[in-house]
């Protein structure tokens, strides 16, 4: 009988063999694949005798959210708390960016640029566009800053807290290279630190500069990858952020070393309560809004984020899947690339059969941005309605009225991280009974 080693399993052996053959670490897209405590480990306590529910389809359950009303003249008013996470033109095709803008606008939410600047397709189709301000400053243009609806200073992302961006040469086409002022075909390695500020004191000055440039009109977000979340959120809020975007380790990337994705950062579930605690202690919870991303996949995840204290969520991987990534009808083409539908993560390679994570014009043409946008809008609507179903069942007339008291955990680990009781008990690990 063959017995597979738990330590040297087939995947581990394949990794060693691949490294020995190629001399380079594995680079891929997506987020952490390892099993970590997640929103699936939480359950809602629907209303019964001690709480009363709201009627589905009859009694209101609102979903709108205002982001960035702490300092900005024009905060964002969104119809749903499901926003689109930052993803670059370069990592994605222009048509994919356009589709994201179309879908987001159709349901009254925001989309976000990425490393490499703002494209006309994206600005043109996005009613609410958040402009990322990254360490590389590729394509950073004050005109675009003024055209944006909000500014997001990126300190890190959940897939790689402490790491810079990466875009391999096969995706640095003439247009991408031109936007980023890079030679065509280089393996682009973005900086991991901002070039003109370091630490929270500098960040405060930088935030003020961006406000001055845009005449205090636009909300300023700060995005962090989940690691030392409690401290990072406190420092970002005290530095003046209007909105904090918290990205857990399940959050996707277009291209990062597998070892980075799987071994750096903490799960979204572990990070979210830390962020809420930090804001509460500063008296800023609900004043500085919290947007959570990293493995948000459905309305249940959305509702759980709301209940734990988030103001909104951001989706990236789920949005790409909604556009058509990993579609079953492309299975044969995925298999030609050594993958399969449902498994494809070589977003760095630029050969995406779905035409989303590519700069190849023929592949990119496969994505109809109108159809893609419609699919994304459908998905966000479903997410929002699913969350409303849960909120009504908990007797809540607004998604933001969900609270930790509505939740229990299925595992001790999830109970400790989420700071809610283990189901059927009143025990929250780490807290006195």
């Amino acid at each position: 009988m063959l017995r597979e080693s738990a330590t040297f399993d087939r995947a581990t052996i394949a990794d060693i063999q691949r490294a020995a053959e190629t001399g380079i670490y594995d680079i891929r897209g997506g987020g952490a694949k390892r099993r970590v405590p997640h929103f699936d480990d939480l359950l809602f306590l629907g209303a019964s005798m001690s709480r009363y529910p709201l009627e589905g389809y009859r009694e209101r359950c609102d979903t709108d959210v205002v982001l960035g009303d702490r300092n900005a003249t024009y905060p964002l008013h969104l119809s749903t708390p499901v926003t689109i996470a930052g993803m670059s033109f370069g990592a994605l095709s222009g048509r994919a960016k356009e589709a994201l803008g179309r879908g987001a606008s159709e349901v009254g939410t925001s989309t976000t640029t990425g490393d490499g600047g703002m494209t006309p397709e994206e600005r043109g189709q996005s009613k609410h566009l958040v402009y990322q301000y990254l360490p590389s400053r590729y394509g950073m243009n004050p005109d675009h800053l003024r055209m944006a609806d909000a500014i997001e200073i990126v300190l890190g992302q959940g897939a790689k807290p402490g790491g810079g961006g990466m875009l391999l040469g096969q995706k640095i086409t003439e247009r991408v290279a031109g936007m980023r002022t890079l030679p065509m075909g280089v393996d682009q390695r973005s900086a991991c630190r901002h070039p003109d500020w370091t630490g929270p004191d500098d960040l405060e000055i930088k935030i003020r500069e961006l406000r001055e440039i845009t005449d205090w009109e636009k909300p300023v977000y700060v995005k962090i990858g989940a690691s030392r979340t409690y401290f990072d959120v406190k420092l970002a809020a005290k530095a003046g952020a209007d909105v904090i975007v918290l990205d857990g380790m399940q959050g996707g990337t277009a291209a990062t070393q597998d070892v980075f994705i799987e071994h750096v950062g903490i799960p979204t579930l572990a990070a979210l309560p830390q962020a809420v605690q930090a804001l509460q202690e500063e008296g800023l919870h609900r004043k500085v809004q919290l947007v959570v991303s990293g493995g948000v996949r459905n309305g249940a995840d959305l509702a759980k984020c709301m209940a734990l204290g988030a103001d909104a969520v951001a989706i990236g991987t789920a949005a790409l899947v909604a556009l058509g990534d990993n579609a079953p009808h492309l299975d044969e083409e995925y298999r030609k690339l050594g993958s399969a539908a449902g498994f494809y993560d070589d977003w760095q390679a630029g050969r995406d059969p779905a035409g989303i994570t590519t700069q190849d014009p023929e592949l990119a043409d496969r994505l109809d941005p109108v159809v893609g946008g419609r699919r994304l809008a459908n998905f966000i609507r479903v997410m929002t309605m699913e969350a409303q179903v849960i909120a009504r069942a908990c007797g809540k007339a607004h998604l933001h009225s969900l609270e930790p008291e509505d939740l229990v955990a299925l595992t001790i680990e999830a109970a400790a991280m989420a700071r809610v009781p283990l189901a059927g008990t009143s025990w929250i690990p780490g807290q006195a009974l």
């Binding site: 070039p195 406000r211 001055e212 440039i213």
Partner: protein, 244 residues
């Protein structure tokens, strides 16, 4: 962190006289708000700022053909993201002067702190004194002329544009350089990864002479050496791993 909305009461700005803003009375928000007025170039093309006293974010985000003279030292990010304007600091500048400048001219009569001209896409930045570390970091097309020395890691990841150093350069000059060109008259303490000395040909002497003239630096181009990217690290190869 609330923005002030009080309109700026400057000394009779007009197309023929210089508008004067005293930052011991007005605040930076009022100054920048006035400089961002859509018709500023027609109604008040010349500005003088007094008592800056190291304040941050002075004259940022300008987008008009105006002239701003600042009498004194400035803090972080003076003239950040400048477009079209001509800004002169009659003093020293803090971190990130002219960061991400797109066009126009920024001149610092004294010394500049770290990250001068960081990520700037265009225009001309002149530092008549010396510039600290990371001068021209991630520069994307700007021309920077420094009358004195530059600190370590200057032109780090420089993508495009020219950095001219009339004095000496610190450690790791031009580390991970892309296509920015560097000219140094004095010594270079060390070169960064993938940065090499290159032949100074006629076209380089000519462009250097133009840059020095534009900056008002009386230096002989023949006394400079040129540095650029060896382009060995543009695409990852395992044999170059030790260079990173």
């Amino acid at each position: 962190m609330a923005a002030l909305s009080t309109p700026l009461d400057v000394q009779e700005p007009s197309s023929t006289t210089e508008a004067v803003v005293d930052l011991s009375i007005a605040d930076v928000r009022q100054l920048n708000g006035a400089l961002h007025a859509p018709d500023v170039a027609e109604k008040a093309p010349s500005w003088r700022v007094t008592n800056p006293d190291g304040r941050h974010g002075i004259a940022v985000g300008l987008d008009a053909e105006v002239t701003v003279e600042i009498d004194g030292h400035v803090g972080y990010y003076c003239a950040g993201m400048n477009k079209s304007a001509t800004v002169t600091v009659h003093g020293n500048a803090g971190v990130g002067v002219a960061e991400n400048m797109m066009s126009g001219t920024v001149r610092v009569r004294g010394n500049a702190s770290q990250s001068a001209g960081a990520t700037a896409h265009g225009g001309l930045l002149v530092v008549e004194g010396s510039a600290a570390a990371r001068c021209g970091i991630s520069m994307k097309g700007v021309d920077i002329v420094v009358g004195g020395d530059v600190g370590h890691m200057s032109a780090f990841m420089g993508q495009a544009g020219r950095l001219v150093v009339c004095g000496d350069a610190g450690d790791a000059l031009g580390d991970s350089l892309y296509e920015a060109r560097i000219y140094v008259q004095g010594s270079v303490k060390s070169l960064g990864a993938d940065c090499v000395e290159k032949e100074m040909r006629g076209e380089h002497l000519a462009e250097l002479a133009e840059l020095l003239a534009a900056a008002g630096m009386a230096c002989d181009p023949a006394g400079f050496r040129r540095y650029g990217s060896a382009r060995q690290l543009y695409n990852f190869h395992v044999d170059n791993a030790s260079a990173y």
